[in-house]
């Protein structure tokens, strides 16, 4: 007991980052297992059950996630009743590998960090499942859609509950697969298939970062479980910690669409809108932030990697905001905004102990209000024959009052209108950034102003002004099954800020993220809040001048500034990818393929054409090519001998 007390004291002293030292799950083991098992089971039944489950598949899919949410609440209340240092619990499931010191236990780790993620994933997830019942009503493959959604929720829960990096990797690949299946869900659209492929390829780059990072962790510490690694990181060299940190950052960039791996997220909007809300706004894309905050025991020992994290976050938050300003597609505008907001979270995570809790705070708040707005966009599309071009909207607030009001709540939250959830969460990040580094802080402040601009533009173009829709479009409010989730999420957007009351979230997360020393600002936080609000107000006012008072043309103007043009082209992310990655690798493959065709495929082709002239042609083909194979064999033998001799003399 005494030693525990001393540990706590030293941790509070601000020296060591907190260790992961979970206790036994005890009575909470049941909900801990159920929370994953329910959606996993749902996915299995829906996928294996086939058409027999078509009639009630969507209901089962929704019920499992609601059940999972109940378990999350049960767990949350369970640990709230415990003293602070007993809030980490673990439950070992089975030993995946065991060979001497090389052991990977598949276990679950539930602590305040996972607790918040669980509530977000299952809570928002359940609402989005309910919404999808209405949204996907006329889709013949609705059951399959719910199966994939369930699969996603299960994989995401594995990601945030695993007690081991290898388990995180398992969830990481799982959510990637589900995301991939869902982006390409409307496979009849070639653009959807292409977007799915792009998301997969770019995510693989991030995955390489994770595999190598986990590999390096195993190589350095001979273990991959959080508790053991966290106890050992203080002894490793700074260089190794920086390498691990940068590899984990690469992984985070892939999954969370951060610069330079951001370009897949905009294309991912090809998926059905509930998917964009759940996976590409509220949950999966925040996995990178989770990984960084979870690995605080790595990042605390490497200033270089932490700085890289903060810089990447800042670049992305500005890029995302820029792209958001230029897009006319409502979902792509929101996607740009998602990139930008995740940039804020990554920036906060890069600020270290002072920022971790605020990163998570913004993550949870953003999860609610962004899901709200995506579902709202879905509702708008539902009422306008699936048109996504904001230039074809206008004056929708009368036709769709519930969608309008709920969307407005999300809007006020994201721009940081005083009192709404986004105000509290973004304000804290800007404040901390200003205290830690003036340049990063000013960039974050600028981003807040731009956010005010592009979100106001979206609101004005969609809900206000003159109606610009075609005559055959009859905008109408969506059914209750879609509006009720909107109302719940709107309420969360309004009241989400309550989590920061009395610094609750900071204290709650302290066992995981550590408690930083209070930062010292030259001016009082109140002044900063005021400045932020003024900057946002300027952004809003500019948008009002440009879009609120003028006619908006139905066709996008072409004589736009280079900035707008760059924004419309996703800041040329694809072009850069093409030049740097796609081009060279295509050439490499093509070169090798030509060789292969000339030498190898020739045989097969020759045979096909030889069916007429039989033996003569076939003999010629065979003689020629076996000879060249044999030559290759001979060359290889020479190389092998040469290698042996060279090594022997070296």
């Amino acid at each position: 007991m005494i030693s525990t007390a001393i540990d706590v004291l030293t941790a509070e002293g601000g020296g060591m980052p907190p260790l992961v030292e979970p206790g036994a799950a005890g009575s909470l083991a049941l909900p801990l297992v159920l929370v994953i098992a329910l959606p996993a089971l749902g996915a299995a039944v829906l996928l294996l059950g086939g058409r027999r489950t078509d009639a009630w598949g969507h209901l089962l899919g929704t019920a499992t996630v609601v059940g999972s949410f109940v378990c999350s609440l049960w767990l949350f209340l369970g640990i709230l009743g415990r003293p602070e240092d007993e809030r980490q619990i673990t439950q070992s499931l089975w030993t995946w590998f065991s060979a001497g010191e090389w052991t990977v236990d598949l276990g679950l780790l539930y602590d305040p960090l996972s607790a918040l993620f669980l509530l977000l994933i299952t809570g928002v997830g359940a609402l989005i499942h309910v919404y999808s019942i209405g949204y996907m009503e006329h889709d013949v493959r609705r059951r399959r859609f719910f199966a994939y959604l369930n699969l996603f929720v299960a994989a995401m829960l594995v990601l945030v509950l695993s007690s081991d990096y290898v388990g995180v990797f398992l969830g990481w690949e799982g959510v990637g697969l589900a995301s991939y299946l869902l982006i390409g869900f409307w496979q009849h659209k070639p653009s959807a298939a292409a977007a799915a492929k792009k998301a997969f390829v770019i995510n693989r780059v991030g995955d390489i970062g994770l595999s190598l990072g986990v590999g390096l962790i195993f190589f350095t510490f001979h273990t991959t479980s959080f508790d053991e690694v966290s106890a050992l990181t203080s002894e490793a060299s700074a260089g190794v910690m920086t390498a691990i940190g940068l590899l984990l950052l690469l992984a985070a960039c892939g999954k969370s669409a951060q610069f330079p791996l951001q370009s897949w997220l905009l294309d991912a909007m090809e998926g059905p809108t509930p998917v964009s809300a759940l996976i590409h706004a509220a949950t999966m894309v925040t996995a990178g932030v989770y990984l960084i905050v979870r690995s605080q025991f790595v990042f605390e020992y490497t200033d270089a990697a932490r700085t890289a994290v903060a810089v990447i976050g800042t670049i992305t938050l500005l890029m995302g905001a820029w792209i958001g300003c230029a897009k006319d597609d409502i979902k792509k505008t929101l996607a740009g905004s998602t990139m930008s907001q995740i940039g804020y979270m990554v920036l906060a995570a890069g600020l270290g102990v002072a920022g971790y809790a605020y990163a998570i705070f913004h993550l949870v708040a953003h999860g609610a209000f962004k899901a709200n707005m995506f579902l709202g966009a879905g509702s708008v599309m539902h009422g306008t024959n699936d048109d996504v071009d904001m230039r074809h909207y206008g004056a929708l607030q009368k036709a769709m009052p519930v969608t309008f009001i709920t969307f407005a709540m999300g809007y006020l939250a994201i721009i940081g209108f005083p009192g709404f959830s986004g105000f509290w969460s973004k304000d804290r990040i800007i404040e901390t950034a200003l205290a830690e580094n003036l340049v990063l802080g000013l960039c974050a402040l600028l981003g807040a102003g731009v956010t005010g601009f592009y979100m106001t533009r979206l609101m004005l173009m969609t809900f206000f002004g003159e109606k610009r829709w075609e005559d055959d479009v009859h905008p109408h409010e969506s059914p209750k099954v879609m509006t009720i989730p909107l109302i719940v999420l709107a309420a969360l957007s309004v009241f989400g800020g309550i989590m920061i009351a009395g610094d609750w979230i900071k204290k709650f997360l302290a066992p995981v993220t550590g408690e930083g020393e209070a930062h010292h600002l030259p001016v009082s936080p109140l002044v900063i809040s005021l400045v932020v609000t003024v900057v946002v107000a300027i952004g809003v006012a500019v948008a009002w001048m440009l879009f609120g008072r003028r006619e908006i043309p139905r066709e996008a103007p072409t004589d736009v500034s280079p900035f707008t043009r760059a924004g419309r082209h996703d800041l040329y992310g694809d072009a850069i990818n093409d030049v740097l990655v796609v081009g060279p690798s295509k050439q490499l493959t093509a070169g090798l393929a030509t060789f292969d065709r000339a030498v190898v495929d020739g045989g097969a082709m020759g045979t096909a054409s030889a069916i007429g002239g039989l033996s003569a042609v076939a003999r010629r083909v065979q003689n020629g090519f076996v000879r060249s194979y044999a030559l290759a064999l001979l060359g290889g033998a020479a190389l092998v001998l040469l290698a042996l001799v060279a090594v022997s003399f070296a």
Partner: protein, 530 residues
């Protein structure tokens, strides 16, 4: 009078080999004496019985493995020093018997070709002639494939157990010759098949030449054929180094050819594509097990003393093989060719494991040696590959198997179950967690990292990412693309092929979730004796 001393033959320990060879010989007699109508039933029954018998015998030998007299290692050298029945050898016997059993089932499939084997009706008839048509209308089948396969399995089992150079060479030939023949026996697209057989035979003979020349050089160096004596000579560093290095190099060419490592891989795509799919499945799974088993023994036992000489060469070959296999697979348009390149990439991953630590003394307590890691990977790979090729054999159209990737578009609509199983197997080959592909890769990477070969592991991780791309491309094609024309159709196979697919898939899943027991077992038995 100095009497002839009969060598002591350990019948029980050798029984797994003897059962297979005996059954193969009986199979030849069956061809000669049993009427044509009953041959299929008799041959299939005999082969199945032989494989079950050898499986049981192997398991008995495995259970009876006991420590050698002077050392703590398991196993014994039998047959007057020619065969080493130690942990790794007997494990490959068990593995080969199971894979062989599954192969017999694939060979015996008759339902997908409406009542005849998927092998040529009369191999001697020229393609496109009257004789071929007659053989086809009479419903002839070459049941000789069963004894041929048994001979090949016998050779494969002897190969990794051989304890001297000559036995190893004989085993190599015994396993290779039937395979050359089997490759040319496809019922459909016979020209392609015969061309494949011819190429495989010529190149195989060529590489055997290298192998046997290397063997002669090593004999010249050590003055003995036995691995124990060679190892002693290598440790003592007597004799000419040029002879030794030349011998190692030339022998490794022969072995690397058999496993399909670059730059000796050129035959693999042609032969895998042309051979009857059942034979391809058998070759891809079983040959790799046998050849890697033999390669491990040769390099770890005979040449273990000058590891530093040959290790950099294996590094280079491993890297080259992974790059060639993974990158070239991207541009393939034929399923069997793609799987062939994938098997080349897998050979590279196996070579990565080959770089692992040699003996238990150097490895951390309970850690994985290179032998254990490679044997584990071979187990995971063998079952996955066999099931994948079995799936290929049932996706057909009017012209037989349809292996062009374009024809696989929309398979997910035609048959969600088959496409789902194939997608799972591809994910396993890509090394996605919860499949055996992931645990297998983890094992070889961990073994290689522990031995300090981390640059190879980094390349391996990068190449697995590249490889994932082409596996997933096929999945996309099956599920997200519209069928072309009538689309592919899935022939309903008999229970035989179904069992092969089911077993392969199940093992892939189980070893992905609970690999612990097998890894632990391999940790205990994975040591060679001399």
């Amino acid at each position: 009078m100095t009497g002839f001393q009969a060598p002591n033959v350990e019948w029980l320990t050798l029984s797994p080999l003897l059962v297979v060879f005996l059954a193969a010989v009986v199979g030849v007699l069956v061809e000669a004496f049993v009427p044509r109508a009953q041959r299929y039933a008799v041959q299939v029954g005999l082969s199945l019985a032989a494989m079950v018998g050898t499986l049981v015998a192997s398991l008995v030998v495995f259970a009876r493995l006991s420590p050698t007299a002077d050392e703590a290692e398991l196993g014994r050298v039998v047959a007057a020093g020619a065969v080493a029945a130690d942990g790794p050898a007997v494990f490959t016997w068990v593995l080969l018997s199971v894979l062989g059993l599954l192969s017999v089932m694939l060979f015996a499939e008759r339902k997908v070709e409406s009542g005849v084997l998927t092998f040529a009706g009369q191999a001697a008839a020229l393609p496109g002639t009257e004789a071929e048509r007659e053989a086809s209308t009479r419903g002839l089948s070459h049941t000789e494939v069963f004894p041929l396969m048994l001979f090949a399995i016998g050779g494969m089992m002897l190969f990794p157990a051989s304890n001297d150079l000559l036995t190893m060479f004989v085993a190599l030939e015994v396993l290779s010759l039937p395979l050359y023949l089997l490759c040319g026996l496809a019922r459909r697209r016979r020209l392609l098949s015969q061309e494949a057989a011819m190429k495989y035979f010529l190149l195989g003979a060529f590489s055997s030449g290298f192998f046997v020349y290397g063997l002669a050089l090593v004999y010249g160096y050590a003055g003995s054929m036995g691995f124990a004596q060679i190892a002693a000579a290598v440790s003592a560093d007597t004799g000419s180094r040029a002879l030794l290095l030349g011998g190692i190099g030339l022998m490794s060419v022969g072995l690397l050819f058999k496993v399909g490592a670059a730059p000796f891989h050129a035959w693999t795509p042609d032969v895998y594509q042309g051979a009857p799919t059942a034979v391809t499945a058998f070759m891809a799974a079983a040959t790799k097990v046998a050849a890697f088993g033999a390669m491990l023994r040769l390099f770890y036992v005979a040449f273990g003393g000058n590891r530093d000489d040959w290790l950099p060469m294996v590094w280079a070959v491993a890297i080259l093989t992974m790059v060639v296999g993974s990158v070239l697979a991207i541009s393939q348009t034929d399923v069997k060719r793609m799987l062939a390149y994938s098997s080349i990439a897998h050979a590279g991953f196996l070579l990565t494991g080959f770089l692992g630590i040699r003996s238990l003394d150097e490895v951390a307590p309970g850690g994985l040696t290179g032998v254990s890691a490679v044997l584990f990977y071979l187990t995971t790979y063998g079952f996955t590959t066999m099931a994948a090729f079995a799936v290929v054999s049932i996706v057909r159209d009017a012209g037989g198997e349809t292996t062009h990737l374009a024809r696989w578009q929309g398979l997910g609509k035609e048959s969600p179950l088959v496409a789902g199983v194939f997608a799972f197997l591809l994910l396993a080959m890509a090394g996605i967690p919860l499949t055996s592909g992931f645990t297998g890769k983890w094992a070889v990477f961990a073994a290689a990292t522990a031995a300090g070969a981390w640059p190879v592991v980094v390349v391996a991780v990068l190449m697995s990412a590249v490889a994932a791309y082409f596996y997933v491309r096929v999945i996309v094609l099956m599920f997200f693309a519209e069928p072309v024309g009538d689309g592919p159709s899935v022939a309903v196979p008999s229970a035989l092929t179904t069992v092969v697919i089911a077993v392969g898939t199940l093992v892939t899943l189980v070893l992905g979730i609970v690999p612990g027991a097998l890894i632990e077992l391999l940790g205990n038995v994975g040591v060679f004796i001399r």
